[in-house]
Symmetry: C2
Subunit: 395 residues, 2 copies
């Protein structure tokens, strides 16, 4: 075969090999790393016997998250889905309201809306950020929605559109300045799904701190992990108080009385998991440095190859490069799958992006905008091995 007209699977393999070498065993998509104080803090937590719903590590972890992101308040919870569920409730989402979400997202974004008995309403992404496209959104809302004294109303369904959930795809920030303009114009509460973007900033400000509330995830595949965990971010003292109350069974403080004043959840992060989170937060700057180095290497490697583009951080943004992503110049599902098969067979764990949420059976009847870019992204994105250690070992 002529070396100048390589098939795309060969192109991807060449890029992977240049950056990662030849695998002697499967190179994972993303692995956590516990080379800091993880064992020490977890053992200290066991020694204290406070492994559960109260303990110093929950407070400490919340403090570290607030301090790092610049949010006034961080409330640690059991996972990112729980964080988003409660954040949407606190943003005022009522049963039967619609919530604007990217069609291109992990299923949790839509599940959290469904857990509020609300209706996901899918919108399109932009090619550069892979997140919500503020221009397409603004045009779309202009055609289907009207502002009333009760907020934004979907003229087709008659339902209120209560909130909008920008999600920072694979760690790359949405164009938040433009998005906040649209949200303000249409009086939409903004809840940022920053599950993937701890460490990512837009115009110097941390993702998850632009909206009324933001949410983080510390699942095992994220940039830091607590086993399972998440957090709610907000600058509003009353929302923070209420978030803590709703996620801890709404128990009124009392020496011994069991008095709970609203329907609530057991969404606490156990102290054991928070101890792990504290140690991981100490490692975050090092993780970010090494992930950026890995991203630079991928970017360089793919800059010399044709047909496959590396997805670099968007304008005005500093990405955490949680998952490194390439995009096929010509979107085509069969070719994408063929490339994935070849890469995985060669020992590089590569993954496609998510099936668009509007294609899942439980959300198929939900309202949606035209989704040309999301469809293009679905057929063209491939995630590459992205563990920090693939750049170089921890210091």
């Amino acid at each position: 075969m002529d070396a100048t007209v390589k098939s795309l699977d060969q192109v991807l393999l060449q890029g992977l090999q240049e950056v990662l070498g030849l695998p002697d065993q499967q190179i994972a998509l993303h692995e956590p790393e516990f080379t800091g104080n993880e064992s020490a803090l977890v053992q200290d937590c066991l020694d204290s016997t406070f492994v559960s719903s109260v303990g110093k590590y929950v407070d400490q972890f919340e403090g570290m998250l607030a301090n790092y992101t610049g949010a006034k308040y961080a409330i640690a919870v059991v996972n990112g889905t729980a964080a988003l569920h409660i954040a949407l409730k606190l943003a005022g989402v009522q049963p039967q309201d619609e919530v604007l979400l990217p069609a291109l997202s992990f299923v949790a974004t839509a599940n959290a809306a469904a857990h509020c008995d609300a209706v996901p309403h899918f919108v399109d992404s932009s090619l550069d950020t892979m997140g919500m496209d503020p221009i397409a959104l603004s045009e779309y809302l202009g055609t289907i929605a009207e502002l009333t004294s009760h907020g934004l109303r979907n003229r087709h369904t008659g339902r209120k559109i209560a909130a909008i959930v920008p999600m920072h795809t694979y760690g790359h920030p949405v164009d938040m300045a433009a998005l906040m303009e649209v949200a303000n114009l249409y009086k939409l509460a903004v809840v940022e799904d920053a599950a993937e973007s701890l460490g990512s900033t837009y115009q110097g400000r941390h993702t998850g701190t632009f909206g009324k509330l933001g949410t983080l995830s510390f699942n095992g595949n994220k940039i830091i992990t607590t086993g399972g965990g998440g957090a709610i971010l907000t600058n509003d003292a009353e929302l923070a108080r209420h978030a803590k109350h709703l996620t801890t069974t709404a128990k009124r403080p009392h020496h011994w009385e069991f008095f709970h004043d609203e329907v609530a959840w057991n969404y606490r992060l156990p102290n054991l998991n928070a101890a792990l989170g504290c140690a991981q937060m100490e490692c975050l700057p090092d993780f970010l440095e090494r992930k950026r180095e890995l991203a630079n290497r991928y970017q360089t490697a793919f800059s010399y190859l044709s047909g496959i583009l590396f997805v670099a951080e968007p304008a005005q943004s500093h990405s955490n490069y949680w998952l490194n992503t390439v995009r096929l110049e010509t979107p085509e599902m069969n070719i994408r799958d063929q490339i994935l098969t070849a890469a995985n067979a060669a020992g590089y764990q590569c993954r496609p992006t998510w099936t668009l949420l509007n294609k899942l059976p439980m959300f198929a009847a939900c309202p949606r905008a035209p989704l040309p870019v999301a469809m293009q992204l679905e057929a063209s994105l491939i995630n590459l091995p992205s563990s920090a250690k693939l750049a170089y070992p921890p210091k």
Copy 2:
């Protein structure tokens, strides 16, 4: 003061002192104990890097729970509330259905019904088990409900009564033989809330295995803890499969595709917490032995005292004695609170039972049976320090 007419707070203090001695520091109501393989297994889990949604400890913990309880299947989840939420859904509870619950229970029992958009319907307890009274229940249903081709209908509200949730209070089993008869007669799905009764059996069979589904909790205050955690028990293969599916985002198995086929939850127990659970399960027989010894000591001490009765395991039952409980012969809220004040001031952490669920603002409008015994229990139960180590140290 004449020693023969001691005030009740002195009676309680005398009993506590005989069993526990004079405290040199506050004696906790219930403390976990990590003197087995907890550190080793948790460290092994960190070393494996599989701390999150998959890993050998989740499988192992589920196997240990199934083996111990005799349930065919155990599905580990993030906590007891989550377990009950999904168990109720799987039992067929639909929005607006009513669910029969004890008014005397922790708020999670009613919250889980509310999370299904169902309506809690409170029923009375029996004095001996502190759990649902099958005779009172049967009489009550005879007056308010009618069997139709669609199941049991509440004639007053017009709603379907879909399920019944016996809860084994402080580890003492409900009279399940009689309760199952009532449930079968009225075609009610039984979901057992066995959050407090791991290790308790009725007629030799483990609590949580009588109904269609049962649930456990491993919160920090329970007989074993995973930090936060719970499990769903069932003998039905299809319910078990569905429970696992609904608690793990309903993702269809595939090499790389993200395809989810129903609205679902992120209710997984992280592998880190399961590792702790495996070590705790190894200790369970020892915990049970020492807790029974402590209960025997309390029982003996209070058998010589008047006005305060020790709550012993009910007939046909073997209790885990999770929380030791005494009952005032004369129920009176003010006296109860006076006794609690004295006991806590003396260094013994004692607690009342829960505020009856029908008194909480969010459930005040829910239907309820006459609750004479629950009201009596609310004004007369006091929980005593119950950690296993209060009997003797671990072997």
